[in-house]
């Protein structure tokens, strides 16, 4: 099947590029309205405390300052993505240091901040629970007593009989892995403005909001307004990566409550410190794997027990951990699998959606495990994956048969290995003379013979990781999207979709799709701002579903209009019903008669004939199903496959890790937006590398220590070597021309590949992220106190 494309897959400049390079693009904090007030948060410096009384009497002489708290909330006092467990304003207790008990609202933000110390709060500290492993103990304090347990969710999966599988195995390996809490670190801190429109019209919200329709639902619930009275307009979004969802929904609701109370526009704008303090993060996981395998490399059984620290609120934990249960045994066909994934409440910062969404953690564990098995069996890392990896018709752990698309796991593995000369490098690194770095706790100083001179200190390592990933929401929920396309009399075009731009460039991708169908240049398309008052709802921009779902809706809308135009042409130009009409280069052709007309003239003609040239496109995902009891079912309607290979240098005398190169081979289906797709790879790999070697939020009794970029170090342009994206475009039945997902796969593999590369360099395995310095040298975290670790020493 070879299809000729004129726009798809070509290098097209971002439609908002000019606005952004000139500084004209307006982000939420760039909006200012006449009479606008500011709101600042009142917090208690406790991780868990019962609120007795909040004394605002010091503000009595400040008539210009309004206090907004739970009593001003007329609708839902608690909200949440899945469970309504998070108060808009805490009135009874706080359960984590980011919690907000009230807001001060007034003209000057700095004045308001200076008043914060004047507010006296009487509270009773409660026991603080920070260890997720103690969370389900009978005597542990309950974070939300009304739920009766600290268990947020438990996803079981049962396939075959693991005990029988272990009995039939030649060897059994058990390991525990540990991943860390990390921050999204979008460069734009949260900001939102709520503008009251008067009682009959409701309220308008403009903010750095990932999902305007979710924010609308939150605001409507909190104000007790019908959805139609809440209009959410998305400002340019300064990065999100899954992070500007619940937090921004709640901030929108708080701003809305204040705007209604004061009848003035109210802005909330967070400092970096507040952003890190209150926003949700990536779940730390404790992953226990037991695997049985035969000497020929075939894996017989896998038993997995995963505990996710959900922190103080449920947020997206039930869905994040659901993806984990589907994918935890990796892209491997295993007869017997038993997986249990639990998420629990603690008083730690809460955790929710972040690019990768429950996959980077199990991938780190499962890919480390595969390398370890290979090493025990004396085979190479690629070989163990070839033996067990999915192929067409394989059955997944959830009992799903992989069909209707190219199962490209082995292809991406082959391409990646071929591109990097993996086997040769892996073997030569493995056979380097490795100095023993065994650490003797009684003598912290390395013995002299463990010192190696500087050039020899640097060891090279290469490692790979593979994954499969379910596209879009899967059995999480309803999965549909819509797009609005309107062709004007002169051939210029308006386009809009209910999926919100998150900075990744979906508006450009959608413009390319519409342009391809209508045979026009992408610049002809004017992309409209998303406004929940105008745009049809399409679910959230999450789960790498934008190109697949929104793109299909755009294509559908464009095809509706194209078909109307074809009918018109056939009538007007007296073409036979069997003639094929095609649109390209702003021209319209008939297979039989050649050039028929210009696109612009056709639009003029259509207008004069009263043809409707506006359409709503729609796409609903194919059916998926899920059995909650045994974790069996067709979890996602299609999957993507990826392989990343990391090449690193490790300084074995200091523990420093440098990333020399990452080769990222992905099968995202058809690549629509070439520049955007490559951008996803560069960005995703860089974030994944940060997860692998730098980034960690540590909390001391619930209090985050790394509140800004001086201590929370993300990669700079100097830190990562070359990144090489390679696309293997497999055949796919769904999505526009078979395009599916890419954004998250690019990130989920990198840390696992780095861990395998570091092991290849130093001849030892690692069980905890991030991998750097003391972790490498002493098998210790940089932050010492009480940090749980994976299998060690």
């Amino acid at each position: 099947m070879s299809e000729e494309f004129s726009v798809v897959g070509k290098k097209i400049i971002r439609e908002d590029g000019v606005e952004k390079v000139t500084g004209r693009a307006k982000f939420a904090d760039d909006y200012k309205f006449p009479g606008m007030l500011h709101a600042v948060m009142v917090r208690i410096n406790e991780a868990h405390a019962k609120i007795n009384e909040i004394d605002f009497s010091a503000l009595e002489n400040e008539p210009a300052v309004s206090i907004v708290s739970a009593s001003d909330v007329h609708g839902s006092k608690k909200v949440g993505m899945i469970k309504n467990d998070q108060p808009v304003f805490c009135s009874e207790k706080v359960v984590t240091p980011g919690d907000v008990v009230a807001m001060l609202v007034g003209e000057s933000e700095s004045k308001l901040r200076s008043l914060l110390p004047e507010i006296k709060i009487d509270y009773t500290p409660l026991p603080v629970l920070t260890d997720p492993e103690k969370s389900l103990n009978k005597n542990s304090v309950l974070i939300h007593p009304e739920t009766g347990s600290n268990l947020i969710v438990h996803h079981p999966l049962r396939k075959g009989d693991v005990e029988k599988g272990f009995e039939e195995s030649d060897e059994i390996l058990e390991q525990t892995y540990k991943t860390q809490l990390i921050e999204h670190a979008y460069i734009e801190p949260e900001a939102v403005v709520a503008i009251p429109l008067g009682f009959s019209e409701g309220i308008k919200i403009i903010g750095s909001i990932q999902n305007p329709f979710t924010a609308r639902k939150f605001v409507a619930n909190v104000l007790n307004y019908p959805l139609a009275k809440v209009r959410v307009q998305q400002a340019h979004l300064g990065g999100s990566f899954g992070g500007k969802d619940d937090t921004m929904c709640i901030l929108s609701a708080r701003a809305a409550v204040a705007a209604i109370k004061t009848n003035r526009p109210v802005k909330i704008k967070y400092t970096r410190e507040e952003s890190v303090l209150e926003s949700y993060k990536r779940h730390p996981y404790i992953l226990k794997y037991k695997v049985g395998y035969n000497l020929n490399g075939k894996i017989k059984a896998m038993k997995i027990d995963i505990l996710a620290d959900g922190g103080a609120y449920a947020s997206m934990s039930p869905f994040v951990t659901w993806r984990s249960v589907v994918q935890a045994s990796g892209p491997y066909e295993i007869e017997n699998v038993q997986t249990d994934v639990r998420a629990v409440y603690t008083n730690n910062p809460y955790t929710g959606a972040m690019r990768g969404f429950g996959s980077p953690q199990p991938i780190f564990a499962q890919e480390s495990l595969m390398d370890e098995i290979a090493s025990r069996l004396g085979i190479s890392p690629d070989e163990i994956r070839r033996i067990n990896g999915f192929k067409n018709g394989s059955v997944t752990a959830t009992g799903q048969i992989l069909k209707d698309h190219d199962v490209n796991l082995k292809k991406v593995l082959d391409v990646a290995c071929g591109n990097t000369d993996f086997i040769t490098k892996w073997k030569s690194n493995r056979d380097q003379k490795i100095f023993s770095l065994k650490y003797d706790p009684s003598n912290p100083i390395l013995k002299d013979n463990q010192f190696i001179d500087p050039p020899e200190n640097i060891r090279k390592g290469i490692g790979l990781a593979v994954s499969f990933r379910g596209c879009s929401l899967g059995a999480e929920g309803i999965d549909a999207a819509s797009a609005y396309l309107s062709v004007q009399n002169d051939g210029s075009i308006y386009l809009d979709c209910g999926l919100a731009e998150n900075g990744q460039g979906l508006r450009t991708t959608y413009s390319i799709i519409a342009a391809e169908v209508l045979g026009v240049s992408a610049e002809k398309i004017i992309y409209l701002e998303l406004d929940t008052g105008i745009t049809p709802e399409s679910g959230p921009t999450v789960a790498s579903r934008a190109t697949l779902m929104g793109g299909s809706a755009v294509k559908n809308a464009a095809e509706i209009l194209r078909d109307r135009l074809i009918n018109l042409i056939k009538e007007e130009f007296k073409l036979g019903g069997e003639d094929v009409i095609s649109f390209r280069d702003d021209l319209v052709f008939s297979r039989k008669k050649g050039l028929i007309t210009k696109f612009t003239d056709l639009c003029k003609l259509a207008a004069s004939r009263g043809i409707n040239l506006s359409a709503i496109g729609w796409y609903k995902s194919p059916k998926v199903d899920w059995n909650e009891e045994n974790g069996q079912g067709d979890a996602y309607f299609t999957y993507v496959y990826g392989c990343q290979i990391a090449e690193v240098s490790v300084n074995v005398s200091t523990g420093e890790v440098y990333i020399d190169k990452v080769t990222a081979v992905h099968d995202p289906g058809k690549v629509i937006n070439k520049l955007g797709a490559e951008g996803q790879v560069y960005g995703g790999v860089t974030q994944g590398a940060g997860y692998g070697i730098f980034e960690e939020v540590t909390a001391d009794n619930g209090f985050i220590r790394e509140l800004n970029f001086d201590t929370y170090t993300i990669p700079t342009s100097m830190d990562i070597g070359e990144i090489k994206p390679v696309f293997v475009e497999g055949k796919e039945n769904y999505g526009p021309w078979g395009a599916k997902s890419l954004g998250e796969p690019t990130l989920e593999l990198t840390a696992a590949a780095i861990a395998n590369a570091v092991s290849n360099a130093v001849g030892r395995r690692f069980y905890s992220l991030p991998l750097n310095l003391e972790e490498i040298i002493l098998n210790k975290k940089l932050r010492p106190a009480g940090t749980k670790r994976g299998s060690s020493l």
């Binding site: 460069i187 912290p444 100097m718």
Partner: protein, 479 residues
């Protein structure tokens, strides 16, 4: 108060601006809140992200020298007589080559960091006639981006360099940049305009807090500072030049780290220090942070103090008309406590001119190689005669409450032969002199281990032929 309150006058993009805002208030707030120009973004307010980067041009011997700075850490007082350039003033009828290539090459995704990158890149082009991709990327080290993985940005820099190099011959660098549309044509008239500005008019109230570059003080307490009138140090009341005076190199207390890197005198006598100082913060921070500020800050893990200790720096402390001299090695008393008396300023830092057979090395271990605080750092300076150490200085950071000069180790090294035994013994003594604590940058054990590795590294790097690491290992076994 004086009737003429508008004491700060500067060129704001292409227009004159006079303002009466507090001289200690923050430039970023002025740009965004007072002037309502929103292309300059607030990302971290501590100089770590570069989203608020702007260019400040200063007239120096007839030419305007532009520096990239983080506007979140710049007090308004420092704008007087300068040219402030925000992204808005680069916008012409068409995109500049930098703007165009960033858009074309996927150098922008969410776009929040983009104006800061455009500014930093423009700053690089304004400051360098000979363009080099790696150098240009180094100059962007202070701008962080979470979306693009920097690949598109690097391609944009590469293409911009090509555009510049392919543009026609012009009589000077600035004209060429203007002709190729990198900057608007009004940049041509800026030197003349700035020459006409007088020194600040009104006298300022003097408080007891001095602000140098502000790169730490504005991180710690910008809200407190911005409301008040503080005496702010600048070229007018403290020297910022670097010169040779007799057998001493004199560094003005107001000199910035970047001035140190660019100084011909430093280049001549300490040719390798430039590379080490590249690890000191990012360019926008180095453009502001002063040498004196770094010393007074007394951070136990400071990179510059670590180096200055082994170079046997002396300080001239000034109070009014009196001044006194003290060795830097005696200046640090306890954690964040120095010998500086109230209202004393560091006027000069004096370095002895190195003699023949002078060796210097600096090592730093941090999680992130660039822009990070070290777990442990160490410097060494040696004067040798043939194979013998005549004079030695060795320091260690991050292993005690103060920037630590290793007295015993330095004394031990004097008059020793450069040999494996010496190195091993020196490392042992060094470990007896330190008192590291476990913190975010490592456990005490790890820091001890690192210091030993760094001392070994000093000698292995400086004297690869004299130190036999095989013997070092074998010798240890025999012991």
């Amino acid at each position: 108060m004086s009737t003429d309150k508008k004491m700060i006058k500067f060129l704001f993009n292409s227009e004159w601006l006079e303002t009466s805002v507090s001289p200690a208030s923050v430039l970023l707030d002025f740009i965004r809140n007072e002037k309502r120009l929103t292309g300059t973004k607030e990302g971290c307010r501590e100089g770590d992200c570069g989203a608020c980067a702007v260019l400040i041009g200063e007239l120096r011997s007839g030419k305007v020298k532009y520096k990239v700075v983080n506007s979140c850490l710049v007090p308004m007082r420092d704008l007087h007589g300068k040219h402030l350039v925000t992204v808005e003033s680069l916008n012409q009828d068409e995109l500049t080559p930098i703007q165009l290539t960033v858009a074309e090459e996927g150098g922008t995704q969410c776009g929040f960091c983009t104006p800061g990158f455009v500014i930093s890149m423009t700053g690089y082009f304004l400051n360098n006639k000979k363009l080099d991709l790696q150098e240009a990327m180094d100059s962007l080290g202070g701008n962080i981006c979470r979306c693009t993985g920097y690949a598109g940005i690097e391609r944009a820099v590469k293409k911009s360099i090509e555009i510049y190099e392919q543009s026609g011959e012009s009589k000077d660098h600035l004209t060429k940049l203007i002709d190729a549309k990198f900057v608007p044509s009004f940049f041509k008239s800026v030197p003349k305009l700035l020459a006409g500005i007088d020194a600040p008019k009104a006298k300022q109230k003097v408080s007891e807090i001095f602000i140098g570059g502000g790169t730490d003080l504005y991180v710690q307490k910008w809200e407190e500072l911005s409301g008040a009138d503080y005496k702010i140090l600048s070229g007018s009341n403290i020297p910022d030049d670097i010169n040779l005076s007799g057998n001493k190199i004199r560094i003005g207390g107001g000199a910035t780290i970047q001035q140190l890197i660019d100084s011909a005198v430093i280049k001549k006598y300490f040719p390798l220090i430039q590379n080490d100082l590249q690890l000191f913060g990012s360019l926008p921070i180095r453009n502001r942070a002063t040498v004196a500020g770094n010393i007074v800050n007394a951070s136990p893990i400071g990179d510059l103090t670590n180096i200055l200790l082994v170079l046997d720096a002396g300080l001239i402390l000034k109070y009014g008309k009196t001044n006194r001299q003290i060795s830097l090695r005696k200046f640090f008393l306890d954690y964040k406590l120095t010998d500086r008396k109230k209202n004393e300023l560091i006027e000069w830092i004096l370095l002895p001119v190195p003699q023949k057979e002078f060796y210097f090395n600096f090592e730093k271990i941090s999680k992130r190689k660039y822009l990070d605080i070290a777990s442990v750092n160490s410097s060494i300076a040696l004067i040798t005669k043939k194979n013998k150490i005549i004079k030695a200085g060795i320091s260690a950071g991050g292993v005690s409450p103060v920037p630590l000069f290793l007295k015993k180790t330095s004394a031990f090294l004097k008059d020793r032969l450069i040999a494996t035994e010496t190195v091993r013994e020196a490392a042992k003594i060094a470990l007896s002199e330190i008192s590291p604590i476990s913190d975010a940058r490592g456990s005490d054990r790890y820091k001890r281990l690192l210091l030993r590795q760094l001392i070994y590294a000093h000698f292995l790097i400086l004297f690869p032929s004299q130190i036999d690491e095989t013997a070092l290992i074998r010798g240890a076994r025999e012991l």
